[in-house]
Each structure stands twice: as structure tokens, then as C-alpha cells.
Subunit: 299 residues, 2 copies
């Protein structure tokens, strides 16, 4: 079977297993499944996918896991923006964003994708954590899990991909990272089979990276003002995804299926003018770390 087909099947399998684990974690919520075919109005050919969404669970306010495979032709405008010649593409990937109800449980995101653009083929993806309140041990656990998955393949991966993550999820207009990072890689594909092995290991590591954090924070009490802070921080999440995220902009620009592309957006969000945390507060401690991404694993 061609690599593109095997990649796609793997992403579908990963979607199923992760949804099962997240349902078990939630305890009550169930993923609704929405299989779709999409006929874009531009030059792209029809694509298809499966979106799975859990809404109003006990732990997750909204969690979405999407698998898609699309092929088409870049618009001239997009080709120019990406700095490539106008050409055909194929893309398949899985993407996941989970927004817990409790502000003490971090939002998490993972994306794994396989892309062919004219003669080139590569994998990209990563996983990152967006806490609203900072627990150092959560950050260390998350990063340690990814470092282990990376180190099994190449000792240079974790430091490169950790830095790549801090750079990618940067809101320049806020002078802040979206969260406390994780790993992010792109254009990885000198040896496609080996790279696919690495991507599978990243996929397998996700549950171990996130579930223990959610389990130990689910019993933390929280107050209205902490929920409010979470909604304000979710505004930054929206700003990142709509202003900077390449995947989102690529999807919208190629007239992908909007509901699946924007499934990542939080369920409820607040914007408040000039909202600044009080000095010395837990909120201020989070912002300080977002402004200067740190090394979570002593070198």
C-alpha cells in the first residue's frame, strides 16, 4: 500500500483509539461522529473525512478529533503566500483539540499530517499544552513524555522540536506563547518510512502525555474568577488559530470544510479590554512563563 494510504489509515485508527481513551477519561460524554464529503467551490477536488466531537461532558466542555484527506490545486494567492509554484497537493492528517471545563485542567492539542506537494512528501505535526493555571509538574510530565518519544528516534529531535513549538505557537501581537509548548515539527521526510515510524510513536504517546495531567487536576476546586480567566485565555487561543495557524489558514484558503477546520475553537470565549493579572497572582505567574518560554527538562 502507498505511504499516503497507510498514513491515512493510521490516522483513522489513532482517532478511534484516542476518542475511546478520552471518553473513558471524561466518564460520561460521548463523541458524536460526523462523516463528511466536501465539494470545495474553488479548484480543489472533493475531499472527505470524519469529525468526532464530544460536547458538554463532565471533564471536557468540548473535544474534537478530526481526520481528513484532501487533494487539490493551490490557488495562485496561496502558492505565493507559501512561497511555492502553483501546484497540486495531497494532505491527510489527524488533529485534536480538547477544551476541559475546569480552568485547572489544561487545553491540549495534537496534530499529525502527511503532505505531498508536487514532487515533495513530508510529515509534520506535534502536540502542545495550554494551561490556564500553571502546575510545573504537569509541564515537566508533558515535556518528558515527548522527549522520551523523540529520543528513541534521534537525540536531536526533542531540543529542535521543542524550540520549533515555542517559535510556532507565538502570538507576536501579544508577546506571548499560546501555551507552555511541547513539540512541533514540519517538512520531516528525508526517509519517509523512518519518519512514519516516528510519527506513529508520537501518536501513541499522546494519551500518556495528557491523561495523567487531567486526572490529577480534575479534583482541584475552582472559582468563578478562575473560570473567567480561562475564558479570557481562550481568546488568545482563538487569536492564534485565526491569525497565525498555518493549518487553519491553509484549510480556509483552499475552501476546506469550515466546520472541521474550526472545530479547534473553544466553546465559550471572553474578550475583556486590557485585562491584566494582578502582580504576584497565579495568573501573572502563567503570563510570565508564556512571555519567556522555558526549558522544562534540565539539560
Amino acid at each position: 500500500m502507498e505511504l499516503r494510504e497507510r498514513a491515512r489509515h493510521y490516522f483513522e485508527e489513532l482517532q478511534r483509539s484516542i476518542c475511546g481513551e478520552l471518553e473513558a477519561l471524561d466518564g460520561a460524554g460521548r463523541f458524536a461522529e460526523d462523516s463528511w464529503q466536501h465539494e470545495p467551490d474553488g479548484t480543489s477536488e472533493p475531499g472527505g473525512g470524519v469529525s468526532r466531537v464530544l460536547s458538554n461532558g463532565t471533564l471536557f466542555e468540548k473535544a474534537g478529533v478530526n481526520v481528513a484527506a484532501v487533494r487539490g490545486r493551490l490557488t495562485e494567492r496561496l502558492a505565493r503566500r507559501l512561497g511555492v509554484a502553483e501546484q497540486t497537493f495531497f494532505a491527510t492528517g489527524v488533529s485534536l483539540v480538547a477544551h476541559p471545563l475546569s480552568p485547572m485542567i489544561p487545553t491540549v492539542h495534537m496534530n499529525l499530517r502527511y503532505i505531498e506537494l508536487a514532487e515533495r512528501a513530508w510529515f509534520g505535526g506535534g502536540a502542545d499544552l495550554t494551561p490556564h493555571y500553571l502546575y510545573d509538574d504537569d509541564a515537566v510530565h508533558f515535556h518528558t513524555t515527548w522527549k522520551r518519544a523523540c529520543d528513541a528516534h534521534d537525540p536531536s529531535f526533542y531540543p529542535r522540536f521543542k524550540q520549533g513549538c515555542d517559535e510556532y505557537f507565538w502570538l507576536a501581537h501579544r508577546g506571548e506563547a499560546r501555551g507552555i509548548g511541547g513539540i512541533f515539527f514540519d517538512y520531516l521526510g528525508e526517509d519517509p518510512e523512518r519518519t512514519f515510524g516516528f510519527v506513529r510513536d508520537v501518536g501513541q504517546a499522546f494519551i500518556g502525555a495528557y491523561v495523567p495531567i487531567a486526572e490529577r487536576r480534575r479534583t482541584e476546586a475552582w472559582w468563578d474568577h478562575e473560570r473567567d480567566w480561562q475564558l479570557v485565555r481562550r481568546g488568545r487561543y482563538v487569536e492564534f488559530n485565526l491569525v497565525y495557524d498555518r493549518g487553519t489558514l491553509f484549510g480556509l484558503e483552499t475552501r476546506g470544510r469550515t466546520e472541521s477546520i474550526l472545530m479547534s475553537l473553544p466553546p465559550l470565549v471572553r474578550w475583556r479590554y486590557d485585562c491584566k493579572p494582578a502582580p504576584g497572582s497565579r495568573e501573572a505567574a502563567l503570563v510570565a512563563v508564556l512571555q519567556r518560554p522555558k526549558e522544562w527538562i534540565p539539560g
Copy 2:
């Protein structure tokens, strides 16, 4: 006095008078004033402005009126995106967005600006209405007010600027307009003094365009599901402003003052997966009009 100075003073005066009128309309809320100087981290020079925000009023959940004057140099990237050579700019303008609490009262936006880019100088701006529930007589009143203001200057203005508005506030990825339009114009400046006269008349017409609509809808009862629909529609407002709006992207890209640029974002917003109005509902009637912008004034 130079035109740029007179434009700036006019925008400041307009801000004061409109804030007074909106406070009178609200009945309880008061605009807080925030004068700021901003030192961008890029190549732009310091700019300044005054942001006025009314939060949690009786009629307005959030209303912001901002005046700013900035000068600087376009980044190479932005110059490329705008299709001009890298060069210096000066911009001053007033912008206003008011988000009522009641889903029966439409959100309103107005922006007026004066820009100098190298040798060129022009005015731009407009006003548009974003209802969550459609009342035809509100749409007709809003458009009629702008048509009158336009017709006093040039009979070709209203049809051109009405179409410009429908085209500008278009969410391509949704296949919907942001609202029911109004007027939008840009690069208007063959005769700067005459254009300034037109811009002042647009500014003076704002209160008459909006306040009567808010007054007649403020006593309409509404239910939770209607408030919920308003929050979902506000998500589209965010999508437009962060993905398409040239002013927002220009401001963020030139490292303007983020809080003033994003003052336009609604106070509370909801994203729900694949939210579709029931056939035959009032929500569906709104969407139908957004999908096919219509002429509100019989020709």
C-alpha cells in the same frame, strides 16, 4: 492647519460626541477613558490614541470607540502583502464597535480613517450593521440614512459603497456576509477637502442611523436560545475580524496597540460544531439574507 491634523481633531471630537450619545442611549453605562502612547517593537515610530470602553451597561454589553494616530514604516512583508513598495505611512482614524446585550438589538460598527502612504493621501471607512435577528425596517432605516448622507455628495456614492460593503464584509469560508451591510469606501481622495466634507457628514449621520433602531428593539423580549444564537453569530464576527479585516491585520502586523485594535471583539462568544438553524426559523431567515446580500432600498 494641515489636513492630517484637522482630520485627527475631527475624529477626536466625533469620538466625544458619539460616546455621549451612546451613554445617553444606554442609560447607565459610562465610557472609561484610556489615553495611551505606544512604542512598537518594530520599525514604526511611537503612536498615541484614546480608547473609550463601556462595559456591562444596561443596553451595551460592550462598546468601544477608539481614536489613534500612528506613523511609521511598512515592514517588507506587509508592503508585499499590500502590493506597494516599502515606505512610510501616517494613519489616523476613529473606529467604533458596539455589542448590545440583547440579541434583538444589532451590533454596529463604524470606522473613518485618513491615511498617507508615501505621496498618496486618502480617506476610507464606512458603517455596517450586524443583526442577530432580522427586522426589515431596521435594515431599511440604516441603509436609507447612509443613502441620504451619500446622495448629498454624489449620487454614485451609495450604490458603489453599498456594494463595496457587501464585498468587503464577506466571509468566504462561510459563504456569508458578516451582517446586512451599510457603506464601505476606501482610497477616496482625488479632492481631499471635498472628501473630508463627505467623511464628516458620514460621521454626523451615525447616531441617526443607529439609535432609532436600538430604541425600538430594546423592549423586545428574548429567550436563552436567542441569546445563544447571538453568541454563535458573534463567533462569525470574530472570524471576520481576525481572518479578513484589513485594519485589524494592518494594526497587528505593524505592531500597533493590541488592546485598541482588538477592542472590536465581542465580550462573550460561542463556537458550536455544525450549528445550523432549523428550516423556517427566524435564525434561518437571517442566514438566507447573509448568504445573498440584498438591496434594501428599492431603486
